[in-house]
């Protein structure tokens, strides 16, 4: 973008920062049911740090204790590699919270290895290098952004190769590992406020829909994928139907156990 345009934009934004939008006062309420289905886009899957930073505000989690010793082993099964890649990127966000440079660098290298196994190495080569560089100088905000970027780039590369199904598995793997960590922390110091972070019905519904509609028959019939379908079906009733529903401690423990076991299954598939 030309510098002059940047200057104009910055000036505009500075002006906007002090001038609320009065031109179109939005309605205080809308009837969402009146929106045709095609006018409602799918949810963007949040990265683990979006929920982790709330946990930081609610308490002082011991992030280091949440890190796994082993990042798991890969097999020749593309579904397993994609799911594992998702869990490893999610681990990156945990390592950032733990401010563990060595772990972050290890994870950055592992992201590259796993990406290579499913032919999207090129997409994350620069990200991997950048993760290492920024971890060395402990620029945690930048590292977090690189992991978000790596997740995005890997999925984009898969979609470019016509492998949208595999891209979804990366997202699902990351969400499961993120949920395992989230529930691990919540159950150690349960409050209704922290448990409310599990209220993610749109995401569970989104993943369920995606896994139910995988176009690749081999992936659709994969044992791990089937296991995750069952996991999502089991989690759905435990996270509250309506906003503000209290998610009891027992539910947190159950979700933790299910996600922990699933992450272990993903990680050991190659064993």
């Amino acid at each position: 973008m030309p510098n002059i345009l940047n200057a104009v934009l910055v000036a505009g934004l500075l002006a906007a920062a002090t001038s609320p939008l009065h031109a179109q006062k939005p309605p205080e309420a809308v009837d969402l049911s009146s929106f045709p289905a095609q006018s409602i886009d799918d949810v963007v899957v949040p990265v683990p740090s979006e929920v982790f930073i709330v946990l930081d505000k609610l308490g002082n989690p011991n992030w280091r204790s949440e890190l796994r010793d082993s990042l798991g082993r890969q097999s020749g099964n593309r579904a397993q590699v994609a799911l594992l890649l998702g869990t490893v990127i999610a681990e990156g966000f945990v390592a950032v919270e733990a401010e563990d440079s060595e772990k972050v660098k290890d994870i950055g290298r592992r992201v590259l290895t796993l990406s290579k196994a499913i032919n999207v190495e090129k997409a994350v080569l620069e990200r991997s290098k950048s993760i290492t560089d920024k971890a060395d100088v402990k620029d945690w905000i930048a590292v977090r952004k690189e992991f978000d970027g790596a997740l995005h780039d890997v999925k984009a590369a898969m979609q470019e190769l016509g492998d949208d199904d595999l891209a979804q598995l990366v997202s699902v793997g990351g969400w499961i590992r993120g949920t395992e960590v989230l529930t691990s922390i919540i159950r150690k110091n349960y409050t209704t406020d922290s448990a409310e972070l599990l209220h993610q019905p749109a995401l569970v519904n989104f993943f369920t829909k995606k896994l139910d509609n995988l176009s690749n028959k081999r992936l659709a019939e994969d044992d791990l994928v089937d296991r995750i379908r069952k996991l999502l079906a089991a989690i759905a009733p435990l996270i509250g139907d309506g906003e503000g529903d209290v998610i009891p401690s027992e539910n947190v423990t159950r979700i933790h156990k299910m996600t922990r076991d699933t992450v272990a299954a993903i990680a050991s598939k190659g064993a």
Binding site: L9, V30, L32, D41, D42, H199, Q200
Partner: protein
Amino acid sequence: MKKTLSFLLALLIAASAWGYVDDAISFAYEAASPYVKKGFSVREDAWGGDLGVKDQQAVQAQLFKGNEYWFCLGTDVKGAVLSVNIYDSKGTLINVETTRAGRLSAVRVEPPRTGTYYAIVTVHKSPEERTGWALVYAYK
């Protein structure tokens, strides 16, 4: 209509004539840039597409109580007026602060609950029949 920046980028490769998408995303990221200096992290993923005048698109977002969010909207069409407003799952407006400057507009929210929210993009006026838009969000 496709939902993610990833797909939009794929579309760009397939059909370079759809340059508006690229421009709209650039403007959306420009709209988000002031908030980076305030400690917000801007997501790499985005939503986008094109709409006719008076058309609306709702996009779902999973938001967490305790975070602050800026939703930042950009368009490639000079002279177009677009807005983005955030509603909870019952359809109640939760905007805290809104700004607009040329092709950029943004809204800040502090979700009262963890759950599903809807960002509703509206094209109020435009010199073009179809107006490209892109939406990104930042959180802290």
